[in-house]
Assembly symmetry: C2
Homo-oligomer: 361 residues x 2
């Protein structure tokens, strides 16, 4: 959005006033305008050169979801795609308090020491309340955020799960094009976001704490089934013994599940992110998984299946967005929901009314 400004280079050319301060101002203004104007081809070039500022700007563009930006977004994504797909995508989930940020910081720093480039995408679509906590996470990863080879990005909140999913999928592509070879996708294990993250990662890691009640009180049950590994965090000091006990219990529980298609038997590990213990072992496990599933073809198969799922998902998201974004529909939908609340209509009648309305728009 360009704010109206009479003082442009054009309207300002009164005679031959060569006051240098004015030409400097103009130059700055033009710079500003250029900054605001998006050049998607240029952005792609900068991203593939590993420019984190460009990467960040492109993700902001994707997150804006403004219709006028759609062509630019498509150009950026299609431009980045040939450079994408070469990272390892790791999903990390766990209830609040399990120490996700500390764990990711420890893992991220370890990977950077191994000459990896690490991107962290943090997802929390649950509410604007947690928005603050995610931003908190960002600043909490104090060491990682300073690293040249790290890129940390929280998602904007207040969005639908479908919206967040698409943004994250597209952000992964961009991060990969920027040369990040490990993408850590963090999510809070209390909603439906884990299923989504599971559908876009190669390896899914569930963080747990030792101690009763955790599995019943916080985390959804289905999540354990999706995990390729459970890591019991904070396994230090007094917690060490209960953590070891929890490890053997989880191991028993995991053995009851049928073997997965990947041939991989989910593992249980102990770690103390705070004391930087167990991090290397976790990473070795993940690379073992990568190697064995690349060898038996499951890794590639899973990515293809995920791509098919994304194809349908992208279409479905777009169909919905096209429908619900229409101002007329937005307004009438609100009215119809109100009418349902007042028992004045039924879902079927209201749906048909809105669908018929859309045909006329």
């Amino acid at each position: 959005m360009i704010t109206p400004n009479k003082n442009t280079a054009l309207s300002n050319s009164q005679g031959t006033n060569s006051n240098p301060s004015i030409s400097t101002k103009s130059a700055e203004r033009i710079k500003e305008l250029r900054k605001k104007k998006i050049n998607p081809t240029q952005l792609v070039k900068e991203i593939t050169n590993g420019n984190k500022t460009a990467l960040s700007r492109a993700i902001t563009l994707i997150e804006s979801r403004q219709i006028k930006h759609t062509p630019a977004i498509n150009t950026i994504i299609e431009g980045c795609l040939p450079y994408a797909n070469n990272s390892l995508r790791v999903g990390i989930t766990g209830v609040p308090g399990v120490g996700k940020s500390t764990f990711i910081e420890a893992l991220g720093n370890y990977l950077i020491c191994q000459n990896k480039k690490v991107a962290v995408l943090a997802i929390d679509p649950s509410s604007s309340i947690s928005h603050g906590s995610i931003l908190g996470d960002k600043t909490r990863m104090e060491e990682l955020v300073k690293q040249e080879n790290a890129f940390i990005r929280p998602t904007a909140s207040g969005d639908s799960l479908g919206g967040v999913a698409q943004k994250t999928r597209e952000s992964i592509i961009l991060c990969e094009a920027a040369g990040f070879d490990v993408i850590l996708i963090e999510t809070v294990g209390v909603g439906q976001s884990e299923t989504m993250v599971h559908s876009m990662t190669d390896f899914f890691l569930l963080l747990k704490l030792a101690g009763a009640g955790d599995e019943l009180q916080g985390i959804k049950r289905g999540i354990m089934e999706m995990a390729d590994a459970i890591v019991i965090n904070k396994a230090d000091g007094e917690n060490k013994k209960p953590a070891q006990q929890a490890k053997s219990e989880f191991r028993k529980a995991l053995h009851l599940y049928p073997t997965t298609e990947s041939g991989w038997q989910p593992k249980v590990k102990l770690a103390s992110a705070l004391q930087q213990q167990g991090i290397e072992e976790v990473w070795n496990m993940i690379t073992t998984y990568e190697n064995s599933t690349k060898e038996n073809g499951y890794f590639q198969h899973k990515r293809k299946e995920q791509n098919k799922f994304w194809l349908l998902q992208t279409i479905n998201d777009k169909l919905k967005a096209n429908f619900y974004q229409q101002p007329e529909i937005k307004e009438k939908l609100k009215q119809q929901l109100k009418a349902i609340e007042n028992n004045e209509t039924t879902p079927f009648v209201a749906a048909n009314f809105l669908l018929d309305l859309a045909k006329e728009l």
Copy 2:
């Protein structure tokens, strides 16, 4: 579909042949034609008169999902709606082998003795293999199926979950219009169908068996959280003791969940459907729930929330159906999925291609 027949009343009028057998044949033929032609207003009238054949025909029409039937279907549903909404909708789930059919037959027969009219809608969208088993269920409910005041209907299989959901939602409306005051909706507790059934019922009942491993090996973990009651079936003979033990374990587990919005504390009951024990107690519990939630307003609130959900669901289903049903899209989608399989395209490019294509159609 009318098969070509030269012998119609028109082409057959050769002279004045008054052979009575021909005019009888013609009459029969006209009757046949009338039968095949749908008169939705007449169907609504018959349904609201409690005619089970009409109800069955209308549900078949809904299941056909042929575009040419859409106006008729809409007329039927809108005609039935004013007579709907007066039943108690009970969802019943459990893994195969838990005795769902026997339990539903016992509960259904009990309710009919209480002068209730009972409709059973059986859902199993998982596969065509289980189609057989559901049809088996239908015949297995030998006593119930004979009752004048019972209506048993399995869903057609091989459909998407969204499709099954809409059919079931519409079938509920029709059954209610036909005067059925208890709708039992049966589903197999192994897929995502329980969440769907949960979203369209007032009370959600989970059938369990005593014995280890059941909860880990078969049923999805999230289901227990949705249950308003767990009924441990086959609590007879040697099973009685383990069932009582399981009861106290489940009770403990349920107490760990946070209190629900309804103010209802989920209950655990024992039953033996085979020996017709515990059925009355289960029904009393359900009516206690109905009374208490109608009193505190949660019952009505939940139905309104479900209606809002259905409104959005109906729109989303329709948007998808309109898109994917186009023959051109069907064909090109197949090609694009193949191209993903061969790494020749990406989900984003493929999705945009199909969406652009649809705009031109």
